[in-house]
Symmetry: C2
Subunit: 766 residues, 2 copies
C-alpha cells in the first residue's frame, strides 16, 4: 500500500467512518479471505464510492500486502484523534465510532451496522485508549459544575458550612501530625477556644445561647464540616458542646440551662460526660456508680463502689474539664430509681481535682491523641439537691422522688435520647474524613503513573481496573451516605419536643453504624491505594485512618447499635407491642413481613437487562426484597424461640446473627433510597453525574449480596454475571467525573494539605 | 403433679434418659394431644417400666396440669448437671443427651430414637447453655496439650524460636508505645545492637558468619518470633540483616561478602537498601537513578537525575545507615545494561552524610516510628569499580561489561530474587502480629461480660455469636496461614543455589499477600472486638494494627504480587513458554485448564451433607475447582486479546481483575492444602483440635465465595445454606479450645503485656 493510499484513507470523509473497522480487520490478527472478501464487496458495492477511493480500499485489503506496523499505528492515531469526545459507551460500538470519524449518512450507517454484525469483530481489539485518553480526560473541561453540585450537597445549611470552612482555611487551624501528646492536647484546647470565641459553641443551645428557631442544624453542619480537619478537635468540640453541654441542654431544667450553658458555650465551663464505666461500656442500664439521697443532710452522695464502676474514656476529663455530667444509679430512701444524670464540679479553678475526686489519664491511643480521655473515681462526694439534672426527675427537699415519666424504662430511654444528636455528628464527621481520604487518594491516582503499556507513558493508577475497584465504590458509597446522613439529621431536627424518639433513634443508629464502618473501610482503602505515600503522616491518611477508627465504637458500639435497629424493625408497630407483649408482636410482624415478601417477589422476573439493573426503582426493589426476607426469617426464628417461653434475652442472642443481617439489609435500603431522593435535588449535568454514581452504588451493593440473591432464587446466574459486568462499565462512565465529584465536597485545600494530593511529593503544604 | 412425682422423674435411672424429651415437650410450647398420647403410649408400652414410674410419667404428661415454671426449671437444671461434659455435637441429639442422663440400654435407645423422629422436637428448645456453660468451660481442663501443639507449630526450628522468645521475655526488650519518634528510634537501634551482639544478625549469612549447613531457617524463624514484640525492631532487623546484608550476601562476590558481612552482622556497618524511588515504587525496572562507567577515570559515577529518582522509604537511612546498597541503571560506554546493585558509603564515621550525598527524613508515619525511613539523593558520587555487587555482573578495568547471565531480563529477575526471603519474613512477622492481636482479643473476650440474660451473670463477649463471627474465622485462618507460611519458607530454603526461583517466588508472593492482608484484617477485627480498650495503646492492638498496616505495601505491593502469582499460573510451563511465545502458551494453558475443569466438575454432585462439607478432601476439591475455573476464564480472555496482536501489557490490564481473582483463588487453595498437611503433623487430641479449626477455616472460605459457587452452578441454594448453618456449629466446637489454641503460639507474657489480656484493666504489665 502506498503512502498516497494511506493518506486517502485518513482524509477522505467518505472513507473515514470505516477506519475503525479497517483497523480492527488487521489488528485483530488474521484477516480471513472470506472476511476480506466480505468487506470489499460490501464497500465496493456502494454507489457513492469514487473509483479513487475504491482503489484505496482495495489496496488496504490486499491479503498479500498487509499494512505494516507503522501504517496501522497511523490509522489508530487518526481514530484516537477523533475519539476523545465520545462517551465510554459510544467507544464500544463501531457505529458510534464511525460517527465520530465523519458524520454518517443513512447509507454508510447501514453498511457499518451490517459489517459489524456480519464480521463479529470486537471493538475491544481497537484497544481504545485508557492511559493516553484518561490523562487527557482529566485535562478536558469537566462535564458538570462542581460548584453547583456543592450547592446541592451543602443544602439549606450551606451558610453554616461556609463559616466552618473559613475557620478550617485559616492556617492557624491546620491539622497537626507527629506532635507529642501533651502539646497536641494544648493545641486542640486552644483551637477549641477559638471555636468558642467565634460563636460555634453557642450554636449547640438554640433557645438559650442562640435563636430558638434555628434549631440544631447549624451546630451539626459545623460538626460535619470540621470533620475535614483535625479529628481530635472535632471530638473535643463534640465532647464540650455536644455531650457535656448537650446533657444539660436536654436533661436540665430551664434554670439549670440558663445557669450553665452560656459558660459552656464560651468554654468558661469546660466539662466532660461521664457515662461509660470500665465494666460497662455499652450496657448503661447496669452502671454501678451510685448516688444516694441523704435525707438527714438533704444532699446527694456520689460514690464509685468498685473498680469496674470507674468512669472511663471521658473526653476532656484527663486535663481540661472542670465540670462533669455523671450518670449513676439514683437511690432515694433505699429505693433504686435507675440511671440519672448529675452535674458536679470535678476540678477547682486552679485545675486541681476536688476532694473525693480522683482523675486518671487513659494515656496514648491509636489516634485522637489531641483528646484528653480520662478516668474518674468518686469517693463519697456530696452533691447539692439541684445537681440532679431535673427535666425528667427531681428529688424534693423532703426526699420524695418525682418524675413526669412514670415508666422507669421509658425514663431511661428518654435520657439516653441525648445521645442521638451525637451519633449523627459522629456519622457525619466520619463521612467528612472519608471525603478527605478519597480526595487525597483520587487526586494522587489521577497524577501518579506506574508500569503500563510498552513505549507509552506509564499508566495512571486510576486507569488500573484494580485501582478503580479499590476506590470508586467508596466514592459512590460516600455520596450515598452523604444523603443518608442528611436525611437522618433532618429526621432528628424535625422531632417535636417530647415526641417519641425511638424511630428516629433506630434510624440514626443504623446510619451511624453504616457511616463509621464506611469511614474505616474507605480510609483503609485510600491508605493502601496510595502505597507507602499513604503511610506517611504528611499525606493525612494515616492520622485520619487512626483517628476515625474509634468512631465505630464510641457513641454506641456499631454492633450494639445494629441490634437497636433490629429491635426497632421488630417493634415497628408500637401499639401492637403495648397490647400483646413482645411475643404476639413478633408473631404479628413475622406474619406481616411474610406477606410483604410474597408481594414483592415478582420483581425477580424483571431486572434482566442492563437498563433494569441501572434503574433506581429496580435496585431499590431488590434491596427491599432482601430486607423483608431477612427480617421475616429473623422474626420467625425469634418467634419460635419465644413461643417456648424462653428467656427473651437468650432468644435474642440465639438469633443475633439473623437480626444483625436484617438490620444491615435495612440500612442498605435506607441509604440507597436516600441517595435516590438526593439525586433528584440536582438537575441537568449534576443530576446526570449523581445518577451515574447512584447506579454504581446500587450495583455494588447488589454485587456484595449476590450470594444471598442467588441462594434465595432472586438472581439467576446470568443476572449475577450481568451485575458484575456492568460495574466496570460504570467505572468507566464515572471515571471522567472523579475529580469534579471530589471538588464538589468543598474541602479547603488547607485540609487536604497532603503533598500527594497536589502532585507535589517534594513539597508538603503543611 | 406432686413433688414426689417430680423427684421420681429426676432420680430414677429408668426415667432420666427421657428428661430432655419430656422437658422439650412442654418447654417448646403447646403439647398437642396427639403428641402427648404418642409419648405416653410409647413409654407406657415399655415392659420394664414399673407401675410407680408409669404413674410419674402420666402425671407429667397431664394436659390439664402442665408443669409450672419452677418444675420446668428444676428439670432443666437436672439436665444441665448431666450435660457439661458432652461435646457440642452431642448436645444436638436427644439420644446423646439421653445417654448423658443415664446409661441407655438398647431398648430405651430405640424408644428415644423413635420419639425424636416421630415428634420432630428441636433440641434447640432446650436452650442448652452457652453463657453459664462456657464460663465453666474455660475453667475446665483443656482438651489438648498446648505445649504439644506448640511443638508441632514450632517444628524443626523450635530451638531458634526459643532463643528469640527468651530475648523478647527480657524486660529490657519490651515493646514501647507513646514514645516520641526520636527516643523511640534510638531505643530500637539499641535493641538492634543487643540482637547483633547476641548473634542473631550472624544467622543471616550461613557460610560466612555461621555454618553453611544451617541455612537461613534460624534467621527466618527468629524474624517470625520477633514479630511478637515491637514491630519497629522487627523491621529494623529485617532492613539491616535481611535487605542490606542480604543484598551483599546474594549479589556480592565471595570477596565482597567476606569483607562486608561480618561487620554487617555485628552492626559495625549499619546500612540501608536503596531500591524504591519516589516515582517508581513497585516498578523497579524503570528506576531512573543512573550509574555510569567513566572509562578515563576507571570508576563509576552515581547520580540522581531528577526528583522522581530520589531514593525513598529506605529504612535505616534517615539516621543510622553508614552504607547503602543502591539500585541504579548501569551504563557502560553509552550502553544501558539495566538495573544493578552497588554498595556505597553514605555517611562517614562521624555520622555525617558524605560529599554528594543528601539525606532526608520521611518523617512521621502511621506506625513503625521506631524505624528511621529516609530519602537519598546522589550528586555525581564516584564509586570504585568493586562497588558493583559482582556475583551476576562485573565491569572490567577496561570498561567491559561481563555477566554470567546473558538475558538482561533473566539477570534482572535474578537480582530481584534477593527480595524473596524478605517476603517470607514479612509474611511471618505479620502473622505473629495477628497472633498477638488474637491472643489479646480472645483472652479479653473470655473474661469480659456485657449485657446478657436476665438474672444471670452478664454474657461473656466470646459467647455472643457476633463476637465469635468477628474473631474465630481469624483464629482459624491464622492457623491455616501458619502452616502455609511454613511451607513457603521450606520451599525457599530448599532451593538449590542458582536454581530457577520463579516458581518459589510466585509461591512466596501469594502467601505474603495473603498473610499481610490477613494481618490487617485480623488486627482491625481484634481492635474493634475490644471496643475502646482496643483503642488504648497500652493494650497493644493499636500499635500492632498501625505498624503492621504497611506490610501489605512493602516488600512488594500485594496487588502487584498477586499479578506475579497470576503470571506464574499462566506461565506454569516454562518450556511451552520458551518455544511458542507468550500467546501460544496462553492458548495452551487455557486449553489445559479447560480440560481440568471438565474433569473436576463431578465434585459438585457430592458435598451435600455435613460430613462432606467438613471433609478436607471435599473442601480442597471445591477450592481447586474454583481456582481452575477462574484461571481458565482469565486465560481465555487473555488469549482472545493477545490473538489480535495487541500490546500484551494492555491485554493484561484489561483482564487484570480476572487474573487477580484467579491468583487469589490459587492462594486460597495453597493455604487450605498447607493447613490440611499441617494437621497431619499432630496426633491425638492436638490433631483433633487442629482438624476442627481446619474444618472451620475451609467452611469460612467456602462461605466467602458462596456467590461464585452458586453463580457457577457448583452449589445449589441448599448447599450454600448448609455451609452457613454449619459454621456456627463449628464455632461451638472450637469454642472450648480457644484459650489453649492461643497458648500454643507460645507468645511470651511480656509481649502480650496488655492489661486486658490478663483480666486486669487496672494494672498494665508494661
Amino acid at each position: 500500500m502506498t503512502i498516497t493510499t494511506q493518506a486517502t484513507l485518513l482524509q477522505e470523509p467518505e472513507l473515514r467512518p470505516f477506519l475503525p473497522l479497517l483497523y480492527v480487520a488487521w489488528a485483530d490478527g488474521d484477516l480471513s479471505e472470506a472476511e476480506r472478501a466480505l468487506i470489499q464487496s460490501r464497500l465496493s458495492a456502494q454507489p457513492w464510492l469514487k473509483p479513487r477511493l475504491r482503489d484505496a480500499l482495495n489496496a488496504w485489503l490486499q491479503p498479500a500486502e498487509p499494512p505494516n506496523a507503522a501504517s496501522l499505528a497511523q490509522v489508530r492515531a487518526a481514530i484516537l484523534d477523533a475519539v476523545p469526545n465520545l462517551s465510554p459507551r459510544a467507544k464500544r460500538s463501531f457505529v458510534a465510532l464511525a460517527d465520530a470519524m465523519a458524520a454518517l449518512d443513512g447509507e454508510s450507517r447501514r453498511v457499518v451496522e451490517a459489517l459489524e454484525q456480519e464480521l463479529g469483530f470486537d471493538v475491544a481489539a481497537l484497544h481504545l485508549p485508557s492511559a493516553e485518553n484518561t490523562s487527557e480526560q482529566d485535562a478536558r473541561p469537566p462535564r458538570f459544575d462542581a460548584g453547583a453540585l456543592q450547592a446541592v450537597l451543602d443544602g439549606r445549611l450551606a451558610p453554616s458550612r461556609a463559616r466552618a470552612r473559613a475557620f478550617l482555611a485559616d492556617p492557624k487551624h491546620r491539622a497537626m501530625y507527629g506532635v507529642p501528646k501533651e502539646p497536641y492536647r494544648e493545641q486542640v484546647f486552644t483551637w477549641l477556644l477559638s471555636l468558642a470565641r467565634a460563636g460555634f459553641g453557642a450554636l449547640a443551645y438554640p433557645g438559650v445561647t442562640t435563636d430558638a428557631e434555628q434549631g440544631l442544624g447549624p451546630f451539626l453542619a459545623t460538626f460535619e464540616t470540621l470533620g475535614f480537619g483535625d479529628l481530635s478537635l472535632v471530638v473535643k468540640f463534640g465532647v464540650q458542646f455536644g455531650l457535656w453541654g448537650g446533657s444539660v441542654y436536654f436533661l436540665g431544667t430551664e434554670a439549670q440551662r440558663q445557669a450553665l450553658l452560656p459558660k459552656v458555650a464560651s468554654l468558661d465551663a469546660p466539662g466532660c460526660f461521664a457515662m461509660s464505666e470500665v465494666g460497662h461500656g455499652s450496657n448503661v442500664a447496669d452502671l454501678e456508680t451510685v448516688v444516694r439521697w441523704e435525707a438527714t443532710r438533704k444532699c446527694f452522695v456520689l460514690h464509685t463502689p468498685g473498680e469496674s464502676a470507674r468512669k472511663d474514656w471521658a473526653g476532656n476529663a484527663a486535663l481540661h474539664a472542670k465540670y462533669a455530667t455523671v450518670f449513676a444509679q439514683l437511690e432515694v430512701g433505699g429505693v433504686r430509681h435507675g440511671v440519672h444524670a448529675f452535674v458536679t464540679r470535678i476540678r477547682g479553678d486552679d485545675g486541681k481535682p476536688l476532694d473525693g475526686v480522683r482523675i486518671g489519664d487513659c494515656g496514648h491511643k491509636l489516634g485522637l491523641n489531641g483528646v484528653d480521655n480520662g478516668r474518674i473515681w468518686f469517693d463519697h462526694v456530696e452533691l447539692p439537691r439541684d445537681a440532679l439534672l431535673g427535666r425528667y426527675a427531681t428529688v424534693t427537699e423532703n426526699g420524695e422522688y418525682q418524675s413526669p415519666i412514670e415508666s422507669p424504662s421509658k425514663r431511661f430511654f428518654t435520657m439516653l435520647g441525648t445521645l442521638v444528636g451525637g451519633r449523627i455528628a459522629v456519622a457525619s464527621a466520619g463521612l467528612s474524613a472519608s471525603k478527605v481520604g478519597l480526595a487525597v487518594a483520587l487526586r494522587y491516582a489521577s497524577t501518579r503513573r506506574q508500569f503500563g503499556a510498552t513505549s507509552e507513558p506509564e499508566t495512571l493508577l486510576l486507569d488500573y481496573p484494580s485501582h478503580q475497584r479499590r476506590l470508586l465504590p467508596h466514592l459512590a458509597a460516600t455520596y450515598a451516605l452523604h444523603f443518608a446522613v442528611d436525611e437522618a439529621r433532618e429526621a432528628f431536627l424535625s422531632l417535636k419536643p417530647d415526641a417519641d424518639t425511638r424511630e428516629v433513634e433506630a434510624h440514626v443508629a443504623g446510619i451511624k453504624a453504616a457511616a463509621t464502618w464506611h469511614a474505616t473501610d474507605t480510609l483503609q482503602a485510600c491508605r493502601e491505594a496510595c502505597g507507602g505515600q499513604g503511610y506517611l503522616a504528611v499525606n493525612r491518611l494515616a492520622d485520619a485512618r487512626a483517628d476515625a477508627d474509634i468512631f465505630t465504637t464510641f457513641e454506641g458500639d456499631n454492633t450494639v447499635l445494629l441490634q437497636l435497629v433490629a429491635k426497632g424493625l421488630l417493634t415497628g408497630f408500637k401499639q401492637q407491642f403495648a397490647r400483646g407483649g413482645a411475643w404476639s408482636m413478633v408473631r404479628f410482624v413475622a406474619g406481616q413481613v411474610r406477606d410483604a415478601v410474597a408481594m414483592t417477589n415478582p420483581f425477580t422476573s424483571r431486572m434482566s437487562d442492563d437498563a433494569s439493573l441501572r434503574s433506581a426503582e429496580q435496585q431499590l426493589a431488590a434491596l427491599k426484597y432482601r430486607e423483608s426476607s431477612l427480617l421475616a426469617s429473623a422474626a420467625q426464628r425469634l418467634g419460635k424461640r419465644l413461643k417456648g417461653k424462653g428467656d427473651p434475652a437468650k432468644a435474642f442472642l440465639e438469633v443475633q446473627e439473623h437480626l444483625l443481617a436484617a438490620a444491615r439489609a435495612h440500612v442498605d435500603t435506607k441509604v440507597l433510597s436516600a441517595f435516590i431522593a438526593g439525586v433528584e435535588r440536582a438537575s441537568g449535568p449534576e443530576h446526570a453525574a449523581l445518577d451515574r454514581l447512584r447506579q454504581l452504588h446500587g450495583l455494588c451493593v447488589l454485587e456484595r449480596h449476590t450470594g444471598w440473591f442467588l441462594e434465595n432464587g432472586a438472581f439467576e446466574a446470568s443476572r449475577a454475571r450481568a451485575v458484575r459486568k456492568l460495574i466496570p462499565v460504570l467505572f468507566e462512565e464515572v471515571r471522567p467525573d472523579v475529580l469534579s465529584l471530589v471538588e464538589a465536597w468543598g474541602i479547603p485545600d488547607e485540609c487536604l494539605a497532603a503533598p500527594i494530593a497536589f502532585n507535589d511529593p517534594a513539597h508538603p503544604r503543611w
